[in-house]
Amino acid sequence: MSEAGTNYINHEKGLKSWLTTVDHKRIGLMYLWSVIIFLLAGGLFALMIRFQLAKPELDFISKQTYNQAFTLHGVIMVFLFIIPSIPAALGNFVLPIQVGAKDVAFPRMNLASFYIYVIGALLALAAIILPYLPSFQEAGWKPLDAGWTFYAPYSKHTQGPVIMMTTAAFILGFSSIFTGLNFIVTIHKLRVKGMTWYKMPLLLWSIYATSILQVLATPVVGITLLLLIMERTLDIGIFDPALGGDPVLFQHFFWFYSHPAVYIMILPGMGVISELISTFSKKVIFGYNAIANSSIAIAVISFFVWGHHMFLSQQTTYSSMVFSFLTFGVAIPSAIKIFNWVATLHRGSLDFKTPMCYALSFLFLFTIGGLTGLYLGTLSTDVMLHDTYFVVAHFHYVMFGGTAIAFFGGLHYWWPKMYGKMYNETVGRIACLIIFVGFNITFFSQFFLGSTGFPRRYHSYAGDSHVAETWRSMSGLSTIGAVILGIGIAIMFINLIISLKTGKKAPKNPWGGTTLEWETQSPPVHENFEGDVPPLEKAPYTYS
């Protein structure tokens, strides 16, 4: 029997106990704080970009620094924040408890995964900082400016820490693979008795689909980066046209991973939303089977469509047509989910707590993101919109308005479980509103920029072209929105951190959720449950 007040946090004290822990909950928290730090770092680079583009022909930062800013904003946000955010931070914490297990299948591999992430992150940081040191500058190093996509042959010839950064990404890939591997085995083998596949909470379905993608797709970016490193050091000539190589082949290699990667980013978010919408509508999720199956469908179809990033790359027209056609297919399962979530809301008993506010934001923002993706998947319109701010707006709506908002929602949802403290609801909801407003101002304006031809990755723009008025106003608006967004995010985090000190003690089940994690105390005991977990009888999301 547990003594009153013991939980996984005070189970063992001291830095060493945290650094050598194999407890999935502690590892999840370590991931959580790491990804939050990188979110803020990536956000700083974003603000640099926006301030540079606030007005035409500004020179807020030099061209070199601007190139670095968008490269690093991309690298940090993609590899260090979004991909690990929900699976590694929230998933690590919640998944084993939801499954009814004591830990993940391979707890030591879980810890190794975290340390691999840290090593990769440190190497990435080195790649960011080293070019500023005098000895490296003398050697001719510029800061990284190849874009997070590292297209050959520019990434081959540019002087800078490309190899360092690609090695960092390679290492981070291992972290991703091991986490995915761990989750797949846990879900297959460690489910509590009675929890059949179609009785699992939907978060598990989406994390399962994500993990499949992580295991299948990440090695391909591994070999891509390895080939790029070899190209730079040994001149192997596979991607360099001067040596008879093919730069488009690099893009095929790169996007074979990176398109499934974007589904690695969004699928866990969708899982979180399923949990939030059901709990805060006090209603069984509408179309459980459809949502579960569509998660797997998204995972599978995502491998068929990568060429839609390459419509203008000189790949053959036949290829482009095929990819465009298939891209419409991948939109269908996502749309199915939106229909099901909205149907869940209908006649539900809606409770507008902070997590629900984020969930509703998600529905709105992800829908816009998804719909605008259709313009980009259509070959003929993409010809105009490729490499414009329309693309930027689209992916920020789905990645930020989708995944990150879902991450914030999940954070607020499971915060009482993780720390046993309730945060201030009012401040939480206000932060959500500010984020929502700031987000839309920032990124909706960018659709107009894109459709009038404002290119991506350009340091500055003329103030006297025939579209200058639109560009001036929309770009300026976007910057203002970015500041508002930043303020909202800051308020959100401050609110959460303050709750650690002054928050009310959280009950076992503050939201009335029905999944297994709400049946154990907040914060959970070290072994997740006190005593054995009884076999599961009811289907998930039954509220009566």
């Binding site: 013991t6 001067a242 040596l243 008879g244 093919d246 488009v248 491998f303 005991v525 070290h526």
Partner: protein
């Protein structure tokens, strides 16, 4: 806190395959290797003699790949125990092949329908070492062969291609790497 101190010794009962089977599979693998080498190296001449049909390298490699798949199946099913394992492990392995095939199909769908294939082109940043390839070739010369290599049976230098290359003359666009008159077996895809 569950204070029970459970002592749960491992009690798995292994599935042991008979010894003969291991040797049989290994033997089959060796035999199939020999067959692979034979089909690639010696069979084409035989077939040409008897049927006047030319096994091109493309066909030869496809045959070799089919044999290789059989060898792989033997290794997977028996040495790696997939035949006696849970179906989930089989599914895991096969799914990898499925998604890899997507990579092949769609990438080749692009690369094999291109009108111009990439070849080394004269550009600003062409390495010094390569500039000679766009000039007329100098008189061919042989690297000094250490006698030991040839004693061991290695072929040194370009003695394998005792014929004219026009490829050194033009390296851009199509026209580079054209057929050489090599026993009429050149078959441009």
């Amino acid at each position: 806190m569950s204070g029970h101190d459970h002592h749960n010794p491992a009690d798995h009962v292994p599935h042991v395959m008979p010894l003969r089977m291991y040797f049989a599979i290994a033997g089959a693998l060796i035999v199939l290797t020999v067959v692979t080498v034979w089909t690639a190296k010696f069979m084409p001449e035989l077939i040409l003699e008897h049927t006047k049909m030319q096994i091109t390298p493309t066909i030869a490699i496809i045959i070799a790949m089919i044999i290789a798949f059989f060898k792989a199946a033997l290794v997977c099913l028996y040495f790696m125990h997939l035949k006696y394992d849970s179906p989930l492990n089989r599914l895991t392995f096969v799914s990898g092949l499925f998604f890899l095939s997507l990579f092949f199909i769609f990438t080749l769908g692009d690369t094999m329908t291109r009108k111009e294939t990439p070849t080394a082109a004269q550009t600003d940043y062409m390495p010094e070492n390569f500039k000679f390839m766009t000039e007329k070739p100098p008189k061919p010369y042989w690297i000094p062969a250490w006698h030991g290599w040839t004693d061991m049976g290695y072929k040194i230098g370009a003695e394998g291609h005792g014929h004219d290359h026009s490829d050194h003359d033009h390296d851009h666009g199509e026209g580079a790497d054209h057929d050489h008159a090599e026993d009429g077996e050149k078959e441009k895809k």
